[in-house]
C-alpha cells in the first residue's frame, strides 16, 4: 500500500474535489451533457472532411480516421490552453482563502479534457479495428507513451500561459489569436508529406507535430516521416513541461499581488 504524507494526501483530495467540480459545472447544465464529448469531434470531422476529402490523395475512410485523430488531439490541446490561460484569474476566489496547491486548478482542467480525448480515441480505435487496422500490444505501449507526452506538453503550456497571464494579462489575447494559427502549423487536416521538404521540416519546430504523428503512429499505424525530428519533438515537449512547472512554481508565490 502506498503511504502518502499529509501534504500529498491533501494534494490528491484537492484534485479529486476540483475534478468533481469541473465535470459538474461543465456537463450538468447542458441538455446533451457528456454526449458532447463524442458529438463535437464527429461533427467537426464531417464538416472538415466534407471539404478536404477533395484535396487529399488518401482513401476516404483512412482520411476520415486521419482527420478524426488529428481533431481529437487538437481539441485536447486547444480547449485546455484556452480554458487554462485565464483560469488563475477566474479562480481568484480560491486563492484568496488559504494556502493550497495552486497547480491543482490547471491539472484538473487538463485532466478533464484528457478524459474527453480518451473517450473519443477509444471509440475511434474500435472504428479503426472494424475498418481493418490492427491494434497490437505494441500499439498499446506506444499509445500510452504518446498520451503521456501529450499530457505533459499540454500541461506545460497551460502552466506557462496561466502563470504569466496573472501578471501580464496580454497573454490571454496572445493565446486567443495564437491558437487558430497554431492549428494551421499542425498537420491536423493535411499530411506532412504533401508539403515541400523544407517547409515540412519547419513544422517540427512545433512539438505538437511530433506528438500528433506519434499518436497517429500508435493508433492508426501511420508511417511517420522522420524519427529523428520526432524524437526532438518529444524532448521539446518534456522541456516545455519542466519550464512550465518552474515558471508556475515561481510565479504562484506572487499570484495574490496581482488579482
Amino acid at each position: 500500500m502506498l503511504r502518502l504524507t499529509s501534504n500529498q494526501r491533501r494534494w490528491w483530495e484537492f484534485l479529486v474535489t476540483m475534478l468533481e467540480r469541473e465535470i459538474k459545472s461543465k456537463y450538468k447544465v447542458s441538455i446533451l451533457g457528456v454526449f458532447w464529448v463524442i458529438l463535437s469531434p464527429v461533427i467537426q470531422m464531417v464538416a472538415i472532411g466534407f471539404i478536404f476529402i477533395f484535396f487529399t490523395s488518401l482513401k476516404t475512410e483512412s482520411y476520415l480516421l486521419y482527420l478524426f485523430s488529428g481533431i481529437v488531439v487538437w481539441n485536447f490541446f486547444s480547449s485546455s490552453v484556452i480554458r487554462c490561460t485565464p483560469s488563475i484569474i477566474s479562480e481568484r476566489f480560491l486563492l484568496k482563502k488559504a494556502v493550497f496547491p495552486k497547480e491543482v486548478i490547471i491539472v484538473s482542467i487538463v485532466l478533464v479534457n484528457l478524459m474527453q480525448m480518451l473517450i473519443s480515441t477509444i471509440l475511434m480505435i474500435i472504428a479503426a479495428v472494424f475498418l481493418g487496422i490492427t491494434f497490437s500490444v505494441f500499439n498499446l505501449i506506444f499509445f500510452c507513451l504518446s498520451i503521456l507526452f501529450l499530457f505533459l506538453f499540454v500541461l506545460g503550456c497551460c502552466f506557462i500561459f496561466s502563470a504569466l497571464n496573472v501578471k501580464y494579462r496580454d497573454i490571454n489575447f496572445v493565446v486567443n489569436f495564437l491558437v487558430p494559427i497554431w492549428f494551421y502549423v499542425t498537420p491536423v487536416i493535411y499530411t506532412v508529406s504533401v508539403l515541400p521538404k523544407i517547409i515540412s521540416s519547419l513544422l517540427y519546430i512545433n512539438p505538437l507535430t511530433s506528438l500528433l504523428e506519434f499518436f497517429r503512429l500508435s493508433v492508426l499505424n501511420w508511417s511517420i516521416w522522420d524519427y529523428k525530428l520526432m524524437f526532438i519533438g518529444l524532448v521539446m515537449s518534456l522541456v516545455i513541461f519542466i519550464v512550465g512547472v518552474y515558471i508556475f512554481k515561481k510565479e504562484s508565490r506572487k499570484f495574490d499581488d496581482w488579482i
Binding site: 491533501r10 483530495e13 480560491l94 482563502k97 494556502v99
Partner: protein, 234 residues
Amino acid sequence: MKIGEILLDKVTKTYKLRRGIFFKDKKTFTALNNLSLKINSGDRLGIIGNNGSGKTTLLKIISGITDVTKGEVITKGKIVSLLELSAGFHPDISGIDNIMLNGLLAGLNRCEVIKRTNKIILDSGISDFIKMPFYTYSSGMKLKLAFSVAINSDPDILIFDEIVSAGDEFFIKMFMNYFNKVIKEKKTLIFASHVLEVISLYCNKVLWMEHGNVRMIGETMKVIREYKKAQTNV
C-alpha cells in the same frame, strides 16, 4: 514554539504598481514596512487603523495567502481565515458542494468534511438554501456559511477581517457564542475591525496600525483610548 503562536520578524511587503516589461521605473507601494510582531498563543488581538494602513495585508501574510517581500513569518498551528466573503466558494455550484471545497481549504480532509457537513449546515442556519447555487446567496448567507465552515474545522488560529457587518441578529448571536468559546479554549484570534465596541468586548490586546507599521500595541482599553484621542484631533 507553542501551537497558536505567531512571529513576524522585520516583515516588509511592497506591491509593484506597474506591471510590464517596458517600464523601467519601478513604482512600488509599501503596505507593510519593517514590521515585527509577536502574538502569543491564546491572544485575542484586535487590529485597528485607518483604511490603507496595512491591516488586510498583515492578515493575508499571517494566513500565508501572500508572500512577504522581506523578512520572516513563523506560525504554528492550523490557520483558518475569513478575509473575503466569497473567498473559497465557487459561485456556480451549490452550497453543499461548496462546503467540500471550503472545508478542504480550511484544512480538513474529505472524510472529515463529509462527517461534519450536517453540523456545518445546521450551524449556518441556511438549510433552506443549501442546495441552491452559491451566487443566489445574499451576503449575510455567504457570511454565515463561511463562518460555519471556519468554526467547524477546528482551527488553532482564527483570522477575521472586517466582515461581521453583513450579519443579522442570528449571526451576531452565533458570532458571540463562538467568541466566548474561543476565550474558553484559549485559541488565538486575530480580528481587524473598525467597530471598536466589538473589539473592546472580546480582545485582550489591540494593535493600532499606521502606514504599514505598528503605531501602538498593548492592553485593549489603553490603545483604544489613544486611538480615539488621535481621531478627534484630526
